[in-house]
Protein backbone atom coordinates (compact mmCIF):
# COMPACT_ATOMS: atom_id res chain seq x y z
CA UNK A 1 0.00 0.00 0.00
CA UNK A 2 2.75 2.40 1.02
CA UNK A 3 4.70 1.31 -2.03
CA UNK A 4 1.78 2.06 -4.30
CA UNK A 5 1.21 5.52 -2.86
CA UNK A 6 4.94 6.21 -3.12
CA UNK A 7 5.02 5.13 -6.74
CA UNK A 8 2.08 7.37 -7.53
CA UNK A 9 3.71 10.36 -5.84
CA UNK A 10 6.91 9.66 -7.75
CA UNK A 11 5.15 9.49 -11.10
CA UNK A 12 3.32 12.75 -10.47
CA UNK A 13 6.55 14.36 -9.31
CA UNK A 14 8.31 13.21 -12.47
CA UNK A 15 5.59 14.62 -14.71
CA UNK A 16 5.11 17.92 -12.92
CA UNK A 17 8.63 18.72 -11.79
CA UNK A 18 10.74 19.99 -14.65
CA UNK A 19 14.27 19.20 -13.56
CA UNK A 20 16.94 19.29 -16.19
CA UNK A 21 18.92 16.13 -16.35
CA UNK A 22 21.23 16.27 -19.38
CA UNK A 23 20.20 14.05 -22.28
CA UNK A 24 23.49 12.18 -22.19
CA UNK A 25 22.52 10.68 -18.85
CA UNK A 26 19.43 9.14 -20.42
CA UNK A 27 20.96 5.66 -20.93
CA UNK A 28 22.24 5.68 -17.35
CA UNK A 29 18.78 6.38 -16.01
CA UNK A 30 17.30 3.62 -18.17
CA UNK A 31 19.65 1.02 -16.76
CA UNK A 32 19.25 2.36 -13.25
CA UNK A 33 15.48 2.00 -13.60
CA UNK A 34 15.96 -1.60 -14.57
CA UNK A 35 18.18 -2.26 -11.59
CA UNK A 36 15.66 -0.62 -9.27
CA UNK A 37 12.81 -2.63 -10.74
CA UNK A 38 14.79 -5.75 -10.00
CA UNK A 39 15.17 -4.69 -6.38
CA UNK A 40 11.49 -3.92 -6.11
CA UNK A 41 10.56 -7.35 -7.41
CA UNK A 42 12.99 -8.85 -4.96
CA UNK A 43 11.35 -6.92 -2.17
CA UNK A 44 7.90 -8.04 -3.28
CA UNK A 45 9.01 -11.63 -3.19
CA UNK A 46 10.57 -11.10 0.22
CA UNK A 47 7.38 -9.59 1.58
CA UNK A 48 5.27 -12.48 0.34
CA UNK A 49 7.64 -15.13 1.66
CA UNK A 50 7.94 -13.22 4.96
CA UNK A 51 11.68 -12.76 4.92
CA UNK A 52 11.79 -9.17 3.74
CA UNK A 53 14.55 -7.05 5.24
CA UNK A 54 14.49 -3.35 4.68
CA UNK A 55 18.25 -2.88 4.93
CA UNK A 56 18.91 -5.47 2.25
CA UNK A 57 16.25 -3.92 0.05
CA UNK A 58 17.62 -0.41 0.36
CA UNK A 59 21.24 -1.40 -0.12
CA UNK A 60 20.22 -3.54 -3.11
CA UNK A 61 18.22 -0.73 -4.62
CA UNK A 62 21.01 1.81 -4.55
CA UNK A 63 23.82 -0.70 -4.98
CA UNK A 64 22.31 -2.30 -8.07
CA UNK A 65 21.54 1.06 -9.60
CA UNK A 66 25.05 2.33 -8.94
CA UNK A 67 26.65 -0.82 -10.32
CA UNK A 68 24.49 -0.72 -13.43
CA UNK A 69 25.34 2.93 -14.04
CA UNK A 70 29.02 2.17 -13.53
CA UNK A 71 28.74 -0.61 -16.08
CA UNK A 72 27.15 1.70 -18.64
CA UNK A 73 29.90 4.21 -18.05
CA UNK A 74 32.65 1.60 -18.37
CA UNK A 75 31.05 0.17 -21.51
CA UNK A 76 30.90 3.67 -22.95
CA UNK A 77 34.59 4.19 -22.32
CA UNK A 78 35.68 0.76 -23.54
CA UNK A 79 33.40 0.74 -26.54
CA UNK A 80 31.62 -2.52 -25.65
CA UNK A 81 28.00 -2.59 -24.58
CA UNK A 82 28.56 -3.97 -21.06
CA UNK A 83 25.20 -2.55 -20.05
CA UNK A 84 23.69 -5.50 -21.92
CA UNK A 85 25.05 -7.70 -19.13
CA UNK A 86 23.17 -5.60 -16.59
CA UNK A 87 20.01 -5.67 -18.68
CA UNK A 88 20.14 -9.43 -19.14
CA UNK A 89 20.93 -10.19 -15.51
CA UNK A 90 18.32 -7.84 -14.11
CA UNK A 91 15.75 -8.93 -16.69
CA UNK A 92 16.37 -12.57 -15.88
CA UNK A 93 16.12 -11.91 -12.15
CA UNK A 94 12.89 -10.01 -12.58
CA UNK A 95 11.39 -13.02 -14.30
CA UNK A 96 12.80 -15.38 -11.66
CA UNK A 97 11.38 -13.30 -8.87
CA UNK A 98 8.07 -13.04 -10.64
CA UNK A 99 7.96 -16.83 -11.04
CA UNK A 100 8.57 -17.32 -7.32
CA UNK A 101 5.99 -14.66 -6.42
CA UNK A 102 3.48 -16.41 -8.63
CA UNK A 103 4.15 -19.77 -7.03
CA UNK A 104 3.91 -18.37 -3.55
CA UNK A 105 0.66 -16.56 -4.31
CA UNK A 106 -0.92 -19.61 -5.90
CA UNK A 107 0.17 -21.81 -2.99
CA UNK A 108 -1.29 -19.29 -0.59
CA UNK A 109 -4.67 -19.18 -2.30
CA UNK A 110 -4.77 -22.99 -2.47
CA UNK A 111 -3.98 -23.46 1.21
CA UNK A 112 -6.85 -21.22 2.24
Amino acid sequence: MVAFVGLLIGVILGIVWNVDIPVKFSPYISVAIFACLDSVFGALRGTISHNFRADIFISGFFGNAALAVAMVYLGDKLGIPIYLAAVIVFGGRIFDNFAIIRRLLIDKTKSH
Partner: protein
Protein backbone atom coordinates in the same frame (compact mmCIF):
# COMPACT_ATOMS: atom_id res chain seq x y z
CA UNK B 1 8.33 0.82 14.98
CA UNK B 2 10.63 -1.34 12.90
CA UNK B 3 7.78 -2.15 10.58
CA UNK B 4 6.95 1.52 10.17
CA UNK B 5 10.52 2.36 9.27
CA UNK B 6 10.78 -0.33 6.66
CA UNK B 7 7.45 0.74 5.23
CA UNK B 8 8.67 4.31 5.06
CA UNK B 9 11.87 3.30 3.30
CA UNK B 10 9.94 1.32 0.74
CA UNK B 11 7.66 4.31 0.24
CA UNK B 12 10.56 6.66 -0.36
CA UNK B 13 12.25 4.28 -2.74
CA UNK B 14 9.04 3.87 -4.67
CA UNK B 15 8.80 7.64 -4.97
CA UNK B 16 12.28 7.61 -6.43
CA UNK B 17 11.47 4.79 -8.83
CA UNK B 18 8.27 6.43 -9.97
CA UNK B 19 10.06 9.68 -10.52
CA UNK B 20 12.79 8.08 -12.59
CA UNK B 21 10.38 6.08 -14.71
CA UNK B 22 8.09 9.00 -15.48
CA UNK B 23 11.02 11.31 -16.12
CA UNK B 24 12.60 8.87 -18.52
CA UNK B 25 9.26 8.39 -20.21
CA UNK B 26 8.94 12.12 -20.72
CA UNK B 27 12.47 12.34 -22.01
CA UNK B 28 12.08 9.54 -24.56
CA UNK B 29 8.80 10.92 -25.87
CA UNK B 30 10.46 14.32 -26.21
CA UNK B 31 13.26 12.75 -28.23
CA UNK B 32 10.75 11.05 -30.51
CA UNK B 33 9.03 14.37 -31.04
CA UNK B 34 12.28 15.86 -32.28
CA UNK B 35 12.78 12.95 -34.66
CA UNK B 36 9.28 13.41 -36.09
CA UNK B 37 9.79 16.95 -37.34
CA UNK B 38 10.87 15.93 -40.84
CA UNK B 39 7.52 14.47 -41.70
CA UNK B 40 6.29 17.18 -44.06
CA UNK B 41 7.70 15.62 -47.20
CA UNK B 42 4.82 16.47 -49.57
CA UNK B 43 5.34 20.17 -48.97
CA UNK B 44 9.02 19.83 -49.64
CA UNK B 45 8.34 17.93 -52.85
CA UNK B 46 5.99 20.60 -54.20
CA UNK B 47 8.43 23.30 -53.24
CA UNK B 48 11.17 21.40 -54.98
CA UNK B 49 9.07 21.19 -58.14
CA UNK B 50 8.39 24.90 -58.09
CA UNK B 51 12.02 25.70 -57.63
CA UNK B 52 12.94 23.40 -60.49
CA UNK B 53 10.49 25.20 -62.73
CA UNK B 54 11.78 28.61 -61.83
CA UNK B 55 15.30 27.35 -62.39
CA UNK B 56 14.37 26.28 -65.90
CA UNK B 57 12.86 29.65 -66.64
CA UNK B 58 15.91 31.43 -65.38
CA UNK B 59 18.09 29.14 -67.45
CA UNK B 60 16.12 30.20 -70.51
CA UNK B 61 16.59 33.83 -69.64
CA UNK B 62 20.31 33.31 -69.25
CA UNK B 63 20.48 31.73 -72.67
CA UNK B 64 18.63 34.63 -74.24
CA UNK B 65 20.94 37.14 -72.63
CA UNK B 66 23.94 35.09 -73.70
CA UNK B 67 22.75 35.13 -77.27
CA UNK B 68 22.43 38.87 -77.09
CA UNK B 69 25.97 39.31 -75.76
CA UNK B 70 27.18 37.05 -78.51
CA UNK B 71 25.58 39.35 -81.05
CA UNK B 72 27.23 42.39 -79.57
CA UNK B 73 30.54 40.63 -79.46
CA UNK B 74 30.30 39.56 -83.05
CA UNK B 75 29.46 43.10 -84.05
CA UNK B 76 32.38 44.42 -82.05
CA UNK B 77 35.03 42.00 -83.23
CA UNK B 78 34.48 42.81 -86.85
CA UNK B 79 35.33 46.45 -86.30
CA UNK B 80 39.11 46.34 -86.31
CA UNK B 81 42.06 44.07 -85.63
CA UNK B 82 42.43 45.08 -82.02
CA UNK B 83 38.93 44.12 -81.04
CA UNK B 84 39.36 40.84 -82.91
CA UNK B 85 42.37 40.01 -80.75
CA UNK B 86 40.49 41.06 -77.65
CA UNK B 87 37.67 38.76 -78.60
CA UNK B 88 40.06 35.85 -79.00
CA UNK B 89 41.51 36.56 -75.59
CA UNK B 90 38.05 36.71 -74.10
CA UNK B 91 37.12 33.35 -75.56
CA UNK B 92 40.24 31.73 -74.10
CA UNK B 93 39.57 33.16 -70.69
CA UNK B 94 36.03 31.93 -70.92
CA UNK B 95 37.12 28.39 -71.63
CA UNK B 96 39.48 28.59 -68.69
CA UNK B 97 36.84 29.84 -66.32
CA UNK B 98 34.16 27.55 -67.67
CA UNK B 99 32.15 30.44 -69.03
CA UNK B 100 31.41 28.81 -72.33
CA UNK B 101 30.20 25.47 -73.57
CA UNK B 102 33.06 23.42 -74.92
CA UNK B 103 33.31 20.29 -77.02
CA UNK B 104 36.05 17.99 -78.22
CA UNK B 105 37.66 14.63 -77.67
CA UNK B 106 37.89 13.09 -74.27
CA UNK B 107 36.44 10.38 -72.10
CA UNK B 108 33.22 9.70 -70.27
CA UNK B 109 33.33 7.78 -67.00
CA UNK B 110 30.18 6.10 -65.79
CA UNK B 111 29.97 5.29 -62.09
CA UNK B 112 26.99 3.02 -61.57
CA UNK B 113 26.24 1.89 -58.01
CA UNK B 114 25.94 -1.88 -57.76
CA UNK B 115 22.54 -2.97 -56.61
CA UNK B 116 22.61 -5.12 -53.54
CA UNK B 117 21.19 -8.64 -53.70
CA UNK B 118 19.46 -8.05 -50.41
CA UNK B 119 17.76 -4.90 -51.65
CA UNK B 120 19.98 -1.88 -51.56
CA UNK B 121 19.65 0.40 -48.60
CA UNK B 122 18.72 3.83 -49.96
CA UNK B 123 20.43 5.51 -47.04
CA UNK B 124 23.74 3.83 -47.70
CA UNK B 125 26.26 6.13 -49.22
CA UNK B 126 27.87 4.36 -52.14
CA UNK B 127 29.77 7.21 -53.71
CA UNK B 128 31.85 9.44 -51.51
CA UNK B 129 32.79 13.02 -52.21
CA UNK B 130 36.43 12.13 -51.76
CA UNK B 131 36.23 9.49 -54.50
CA UNK B 132 34.94 12.08 -56.93
CA UNK B 133 37.59 14.56 -55.89
CA UNK B 134 40.21 11.88 -56.40
CA UNK B 135 39.02 11.07 -59.91
CA UNK B 136 38.78 14.72 -60.86
CA UNK B 137 42.28 15.23 -59.57
CA UNK B 138 43.54 12.34 -61.70
CA UNK B 139 41.85 13.85 -64.73
CA UNK B 140 43.41 17.21 -64.04
CA UNK B 141 46.83 15.62 -63.75
CA UNK B 142 46.24 14.00 -67.13
CA UNK B 143 45.77 17.47 -68.62
CA UNK B 144 42.01 17.51 -68.86
CA UNK B 145 40.92 20.86 -70.20
CA UNK B 146 37.34 20.76 -69.05
CA UNK B 147 35.59 18.44 -66.62
CA UNK B 148 31.96 18.03 -65.68
CA UNK B 149 30.16 15.79 -63.23
CA UNK B 150 26.55 15.04 -64.19
CA UNK B 151 26.83 18.02 -66.56
CA UNK B 152 27.90 20.35 -63.77
CA UNK B 153 30.96 22.14 -65.03
CA UNK B 154 33.90 22.12 -62.70
CA UNK B 155 35.90 25.28 -62.52
CA UNK B 156 38.87 26.39 -60.50
CA UNK B 157 36.50 27.40 -57.76
CA UNK B 158 34.33 24.30 -57.64
CA UNK B 159 34.11 22.33 -54.46
CA UNK B 160 32.85 18.78 -54.11
CA UNK B 161 31.56 17.68 -50.77
CA UNK B 162 28.97 15.59 -48.98
CA UNK B 163 26.04 17.47 -47.56
CA UNK B 164 23.28 15.50 -45.92
CA UNK B 165 22.26 12.79 -48.30
CA UNK B 166 23.60 14.44 -51.41
CA UNK B 167 26.89 15.57 -52.84
CA UNK B 168 27.10 19.27 -53.52
CA UNK B 169 29.02 20.52 -56.51
CA UNK B 170 28.85 24.22 -57.37
CA UNK B 171 25.80 24.53 -55.10
CA UNK B 172 24.01 21.87 -57.12
CA UNK B 173 23.06 18.59 -55.55
CA UNK B 174 23.58 15.14 -56.94
CA UNK B 175 22.53 11.88 -55.40
CA UNK B 176 25.23 9.61 -54.12
CA UNK B 177 23.51 6.37 -54.94
CA UNK B 178 22.51 7.03 -58.52
CA UNK B 179 24.64 6.88 -61.62
CA UNK B 180 27.23 9.60 -61.91
CA UNK B 181 28.70 10.59 -65.26
CA UNK B 182 32.02 12.35 -65.35
CA UNK B 183 33.01 13.91 -68.63
CA UNK B 184 36.46 15.22 -69.39
CA UNK B 185 37.84 16.90 -72.48
CA UNK B 186 41.48 16.40 -73.21
CA UNK B 187 43.76 14.00 -75.05
CA UNK B 188 41.55 10.93 -74.83
CA UNK B 189 44.29 8.30 -74.73
CA UNK B 190 46.11 10.16 -72.01
CA UNK B 191 42.94 10.52 -69.98
CA UNK B 192 42.07 6.88 -70.40
CA UNK B 193 45.55 5.86 -69.38
CA UNK B 194 45.36 7.99 -66.27
CA UNK B 195 42.03 6.58 -65.18
CA UNK B 196 42.86 2.94 -65.90
CA UNK B 197 46.12 3.21 -63.99
CA UNK B 198 45.89 1.09 -60.81
CA UNK B 199 44.89 3.22 -57.88
CA UNK B 200 43.40 5.99 -59.97
CA UNK B 201 39.94 4.91 -58.91
CA UNK B 202 39.62 4.41 -55.15
CA UNK B 203 39.19 0.80 -54.11
CA UNK B 204 36.04 1.36 -52.09
CA UNK B 205 34.42 3.02 -55.05
CA UNK B 206 35.29 0.20 -57.44
CA UNK B 207 33.89 -2.27 -54.92
CA UNK B 208 30.62 -0.42 -54.45
CA UNK B 209 30.10 0.63 -58.07
CA UNK B 210 30.56 -0.55 -61.61
CA UNK B 211 32.90 1.81 -63.34
CA UNK B 212 33.06 1.93 -67.09
CA UNK B 213 34.61 4.44 -69.40
CA UNK B 214 34.22 5.36 -72.96
CA UNK B 215 36.45 7.34 -75.29
CA UNK B 216 34.69 9.75 -77.53
CA UNK B 217 35.53 12.39 -80.09
CA UNK B 218 32.47 14.45 -79.45
CA UNK B 219 32.04 15.35 -75.84
CA UNK B 220 30.11 18.43 -74.95
CA UNK B 221 30.57 20.02 -71.56
CA UNK B 222 28.14 22.73 -70.58
CA UNK B 223 29.23 26.05 -69.24
CA UNK B 224 29.40 27.21 -65.68
CA UNK B 225 26.36 29.34 -65.09
CA UNK B 226 27.36 31.52 -62.23
CA UNK B 227 29.18 34.77 -62.25
CA UNK B 228 32.50 34.91 -60.53
CA UNK B 229 32.74 37.48 -57.85
CA UNK B 230 36.04 38.49 -56.40
CA UNK B 231 35.40 40.21 -53.14
CA UNK B 232 38.71 39.67 -51.49
CA UNK B 233 41.21 38.79 -54.16
CA UNK B 234 42.48 41.91 -55.91
CA UNK B 235 45.34 42.06 -58.33
CA UNK B 236 48.52 43.53 -56.88
CA UNK B 237 50.11 46.20 -58.97
CA UNK B 238 53.87 46.04 -59.04
CA UNK B 239 55.72 49.26 -59.50
Amino acid sequence: MKKFRSQMSIGIICVLLGFMISYQFKMISKQNLVADTNNNTPEIITENEQLKKSKQEMQKKIEELDAKTKEYENAAKGRDEESGLLYKDLEETRILTGGTEVGGQGIIIYITPKSDIFGSDPQKQLIDDKDLVHIVNELNIADAEAISINDIRLTSRSGIRNAGNTIIINDERISYNKRIIIKAIGKKDLLEGAISFPGAIPQELSQACDITMEKSDKIVIPKYNKIYKFEFAKPIEKK
